[in-house]
């Protein structure tokens, strides 16, 4: 087939498809055509008296008019009974309309006979209501057929006797032009109105297909997707997994009711947030951000996200997405445990004694917690929780620190269920760490680590023939902790805290000789001492702006010092901050109804529940830390002096009997130690 043939074939098909409507007749089209056919028949019948009148006026026979009309209407009347296809019937009516036109022209003989021909053109235009080009074409062909037949019957009549050919051509041209125009109108009428139902049907099918596809997606997606109205009403379509998570979820159910079965608090917050969104007194983003984003579903945790759905710029619904993040959380927890494990190992190598002390004290606190009624915590227990939090944070056990903080919050809020829940989580969390590190801890606890240089020095001393007690003291020191190392740890901790609090990292100066302590005696103190350092950073040193305004360097300065002076072991923490705000502290104590407010304000500083802070953060503000320090200090027979000058700084001075650094049972003859030139002159090594 040549290209021309192909084009011709395509053009022919296009024309035929344009003229002949699709075979299927939609119910709407069927109904419409039946209605129009009936009306058109009535219209033609109503013309009979008019035709008779025309005949009367033109003296062409009234009865002839009646007879001719009845003959013409015979077809439509019979056709109405036997033709069931309304399209076919409309074609018959179109043909009849042209016959009626012929009759009218015949009856209207006279000066107006030419004008009677308008009937054909008018009827052709009216036939456009059928929205079927075939009706128009059949009507046109009927008229053309009359002329052609006349030509065959009287070949000489049409073009003879000087009847100009161009008149006939113009006549035909008008008819053709109108037919083309009406065919166009009819087809457009069909495509855009009558056949619209078919188009809608097609679109509906496509939509159904899309819905099926969407249903497939919703049935197989692992996320829970649902849309809710601003009243919380759940729409019909939601992903299948929601039915698994929330049994009995049905269309029209309220999301609050569905969620309430698992977590009443979350349901309450969902309700409150939806109310806030409806009231529209807050920015939508803010309201959405305040909606709960987590829901516990048995052992699983669902993350909830919300997206607004607008119709015509009006918020109508919310898309709620539930994602099961249980596995992710477990993975995160495992990763965190791993990180914490690494951190602990690292800390153990930095300061073995401190590490072991932390573990030992942690065990004690956990043991105490396990045996206590957490819903009625004592002041001591609160201090211990606070201490565990601080030390856990320092040793990188953020999970424990976080649980301690949650427990503190629960205690403060007085929510018993939350207390028990967090308490259980804390015990479990600690146990997991113990389990994980059991081998490592066992190894650490039954061994002593000695630096190579220390061992070499010892060997040298032996070779030099040093006194046995001196050698014993040196070996004994391997079991003890280094105060300097401790202070270095606190220095590091203060830097990390400053970063966390978004303050310039302070300059920390350490002043310390080589002093050792017995971890079994001092762990409690060092654990609580962390609060003093943290207070210096958090409360003592001002913000960068405040410092600059006060004419100070932007970075703060902290001095950590430890020394043996006469018979005292003195530890001092000094900062160049804003000083203690005694008035504020006093006012707080008054508010709490504490005694000795006027007489000894320093005492207030170390009382339980007193803090210069108005709000609680995860580092300070509960008024527990300083009370713990005071408690541990007095346990070791120590005393505390506080020196504070407004805008210049604060100094805490802790004084202990020198002999309390190690246990009495492990004391070596002091005279020998003091007489030993090795310790006094070279090493400045102190023992009680």
């Amino acid at each position: 087939m040549s290209a021309t043939d192909s084009k011709f074939k395509n053009a022919r098909e296009k024309i035929l498809n344009y003229i002949f409507l699709p075979k299927e007749i939609s119910p709407y089209e069927h109904q419409y055509l039946e209605k129009i056919n009936f009306r058109f028949l009535m219209f033609m019948i109503s013309q009979v008296p008019v035709f008779m009148l025309v005949a009367l006026i033109h003296d062409t026979g009234v009865m002839d008019a009646l007879f001719l009309c009845l003959v013409a209407l015979f077809g439509p009347l019979v056709g109405g009974f036997i033709i069931k296809n309304p399209r076919h019937l409309s074609v018959l009516y179109g043909f009849t309309a042209m016959c009626m036109g012929g009759i009218l022209v015949h009856l209207g003989q006279g000066p107006m006979q030419i004008e009677m021909h308008f009937y054909f053109f008018i009827m052709l235009a009216i036939l456009a209501v059928y929205a079927n080009p075939v009706v128009i074409l059949v009507a046109t062909v009927a008229v053309a057929l009359h002329h052609l037949l006349l030509y065959f019957l009287l070949p000489e009549s049409i073009f003879n006797y000087e009847a100009p050919v161009w008149v006939v051509l113009v006549h035909a041209l008008f008819l053709v032009l109108e037919s083309v125009a009406v065919v166009f109108m009819a087809r457009n009428f069909f495509d855009n109105v009558i056949g619209l139902e078919k188009i809608v049907q097609k679109r509906t099918q496509q939509l159904d297909q899309r819905n099926q596809d969407m249903r497939l997606v919703l049935d197989n997606v692992s996320q829970g997707l649902m849309t809710i109205s601003l009243d919380g009403e759940i729409s019909s379509e939601h992903s299948a997994i929601l039915s698994k998570w929330f049994e009995g979820i049905v269309e029209g159910a309220n999301v609050m009711d569905v969620v309430r079965e698992h977590d009443a608090e979350v349901a309450m917050w969902v309700g409150l947030s939806l109310e806030a969104i409806k009231d529209d007194f807050m920015p939508l983003e803010l309201s959405l951000s305040q909606m709960p984003n987590s829901l516990k579903l048995g052992d699983n945790t669902l993350h909830m996200e919300y997206a607004p759905i607008f119709y015509d710029d009006k918020l109508e619904k919310l898309l709620v997405t539930f994602t099961d993040i249980t596995a992710r959380l477990r993975q995160q927890a495992l990763e965190q445990e791993q990180r914490e494990f690494v951190s602990l190992i690292s800390k153990s190598y930095e300061d073995r004694a401190a590490f072991l002390g932390f573990i030992e004290e942690g065990r004690e606190i956990i043991k105490e917690l396990a045996s206590s009624d957490i819903t009625k915590p004592s002041a001591v227990l609160k201090r211990e929780i606070h201490t565990l939090k601080g030390n856990s944070g320092f040793f990188g056990l953020q999970s424990i620190a976080s649980l301690c903080h949650s427990l503190e919050n629960a205690i403060q809020d007085g929510i018993a269920s939350q207390m028990r829940k967090t308490h259980g989580q804390l015990l479990d969390g600690w146990q997991r760490i113990e389990d994980r590190m059991s081998l490592f801890l066992e190894n650490q606890e039954r061994s002593i680590a000695v630096e190579k240089s220390a061992l070499e020095k010892l060997m040298a001393d032996i070779l030099k023939g040093k006194a046995r007690k001196a050698i014993l003291q040196r070996v004994q020191s391997w079991r003890y902790g280094s105060v300097e190392q401790r202070l270095q740890n606190f220095a590091k901790q203060s830097s990390e805290l400053a970063k966390k609090l978004d303050k310039p990292v302070p300059t920390v100066q350490i002043k310390c000789n080589e002093i050792f302590y017995d971890p079994s005696l001092w762990n409690g103190f060092w654990s609580s001492f962390v609060h003093v350092v943290r207070n210096a950073v958090d409360h003592g040193i001002e913000s960068a702006e405040e410092r600059v305004d006060a004419g100070k360097a932007q970075e703060g300065r902290i001095v950590l010092s430890a020394q043996i002076k006469k018979d005292e072991f003195i530890i001092e923490v000094e900062d160049d901050g804003g000083g203690i705000k005694w008035d504020k502290l006093r006012a707080k104590a008054e508010k709490l109804g504490l005694e000795d407010v006027e007489t000894n304000p320093v005492k207030i500083l170390f009382m339980d529940g007193v803090s210069s802070r108005d709000s609680v953060s995860d580092t300070s503000g509960r008024g527990v830390g300083m009370a713990a320090v005071y408690s541990e200090c007095t346990n070791l027979g120590g005393s505390i002096n506080v020196f504070s000058t407004p805008n210049q700084g604060t100094k805490f001075s802790f004084r202990f009997p020198k002999g309390n650094l190690i246990k009495q049972s492990e004391h070596i003859d002091e005279g020998l130690i003091e007489s030993s030139e090795i310790w006094t002159d070279e090493q400045d090594l102190f023992f009680a």
Partner: protein
């Protein structure tokens, strides 16, 4: 998809329906023919005598009255049952006619009342039959206007109006033009009714109209 219909099988399976469709088909054909005939009857120009027809000129010349000085002669041929003829006949008796012209009316089929009016108006009315018109006057259709000069030469043979049943009846203007120009003019078409039986049979084979 192409569908084929076995007509024989269809007719046998639904006889009553087939009969009805056959009737409907016959009706459609009948209506087509009827419309064609009606159109043919009224829309086509009918034949008229040639200017050179001596037979016609002679037959019409027989109507001339003895006069000292011969004048132009107008002959109107009307069919009493033809609406077009009736309209023109009424026109003749209602309007003023030119002087110094002989006017004759050949009426096929009598209409006494109208004949009386026409006679009173000064027309010479000749009532003839279809056969006489065809055989004696050799005229086959009406309404026809024939104008002859003083020498019985047919100067005009044709219709009265330029279009079918036109309002502008041009008989007097045609006469005036012929009398001043002295040459035959282009004939207007003859729209009307066949008078001769042969022409009637040709135009309306059914004989209904």
């Amino acid at each position: 998809m192409r569908h084929t219909i076995n007509a024989t099988k269809w007719f046998k399976s639904t006889p009553s329906k087939a009969v009805m469709y056959t009737v409907l088909g016959a009706w459609a054909i009948f209506m087509t023919l009827i419309c064609t005939i009606m159109m043919g009857k009224h829309s086509i120009p009918l034949p008229m005598p040639e200017l050179s027809s001596e037979e016609v000129a002679h037959a019409l010349g027989e109507h001339r009255e003895e006069m000292q000085e011969p004048t132009w002669m107008m002959t109107h041929v009307f069919l009493s049952t033809c609406p077009c003829s009736k309209r023109l006949a009424d026109y003749l008796v209602d309007k003023a006619r030119p002087s110094h012209v002989e006017e004759h009316i050949i009426l096929i089929g009598d209409d006494p009342q109208w004949r009386k009016q026409a006679t009173a108006k000064g027309f010479k009315v000749h009532v003839v039959t279809h056969e006489e018109l065809d055989q004696h006057y050799h005229i086959k259709a009406a309404p026809l206007l024939i104008i002859m000069d003083e020498n019985d030469k047919i100067m005009y043979s044709g219709g009265y109006t330029s279009r079918k049943q036109g309002l502008d009846i041009q008989d007097i203007s045609i006469l005036s033009q012929l009398q001043t120009d002295d040459s035959a003019m282009h004939a207007l078409p003859l729209f009307g009714c066949a008078v001769s039986r042969q022409l009637q049979k040709t135009v309306d084979p059914t004989g209904l109209f």
